[in-house]
């Protein structure tokens, strides 16, 4: 069966520090991968999605970037965190069109 791992679960980082969140999927090949963010009291905002290795599409301009170095690995990064980057970050995957997305457990990021 397919599983998705996301870590760390919680993270407190100072303003201006770098960020690296990692997500890996097991039990499937060539998934579509996604990074979402849920800000306090808000819905889920799509940040990035990827349909293959090295292929990244950005949905909103921001202080973050994403990379997909391997088929089942998706990384969310920042060179310098801002206070506004605080939120709950979720990685998700789908197998393709017409299928539901499966989410990881999320990372609670607090920038102080």
């Amino acid at each position: 069966s397919q599983t998705i791992h996301q870590w760390p679960a919680t993270l407190v980082q100072p303003v201006g520090s770098p960020l690296s969140l990692e997500c890996t999927v097991e039990g499937t090949s060539n998934p579509n991968l996604y990074w979402y963010r849920q800000a306090a009291g808000r819905g889920l905002q799509l940040l990035f999605y990827s349909v293959g290795i090295g292929q990244i599409s950005s949905e909103v301009p921001q202080n973050l970037s994403a990379s997909r170095p391997q088929d089942r690995q998706f990384i969310l990064s920042s060179k310098k965190l801002l206070l506004s980057d605080s939120g709950f970050y979720l990685c998700a995957w789908t197998l393709g069109r017409g299928t539901e997305a499966f989410f990881g457990q999320g990372t609670r990021l607090t920038v102080v």
């Binding site: 979402y36 819905g43 998700a92 539901e100 997305a101 999320g106």
Partner: protein
């Protein structure tokens, strides 16, 4: 630009009664709709979906209705149980566009015993 909207941030229902959660969308190109349930500090879990070629899909206590002309969908939970208390997100997808999902802001359901 919020293409998927859930206008009720919260809903309180008595155990055993029906819960109706509503969702509106603006993009007529959306062709796949989903409902997710989310507990605090966890990722959303998939509940039920519906394709735009249907107007109803049922799975146990959960039924999703789609009204394409009104660009409206709803989730009915019958009977509601205390364990259903969670935040419910509706989502819409453009399947031709690599299955990107657009989520509403969520409705917090509280089922009272």
């Amino acid at each position: 630009d919020q293409q998927v909207k859930q206008n009720s941030p919260s809903l309180s229902v008595q155990e055993g009664r029906i819960s109706i959660l509503n969702c509106d969308y603006t993009n007529s190109m959306f062709d796949y709709f989903l409902w997710y349930k989310k507990y605090p500090a966890e990722g959303p879990t998939f509940l039920i979906s519906i394709s735009s070629i249907k107007d109803k899909n049922e799975d146990g206590r959960f039924t999703v209705f789609l009204n394409k002309s009104a660009k409206h969908l709803s989730l009915h939970i019958v009977p509601s149980q205390p364990g259903d208390s969670a935040v419910y997100f509706c989502a819409a997808s453009l399947r031709y566009n690599f299955n990107k999902f657009y989520f509403g802001s969520g409705t917090k359901l509280n089922v009272k015993p």
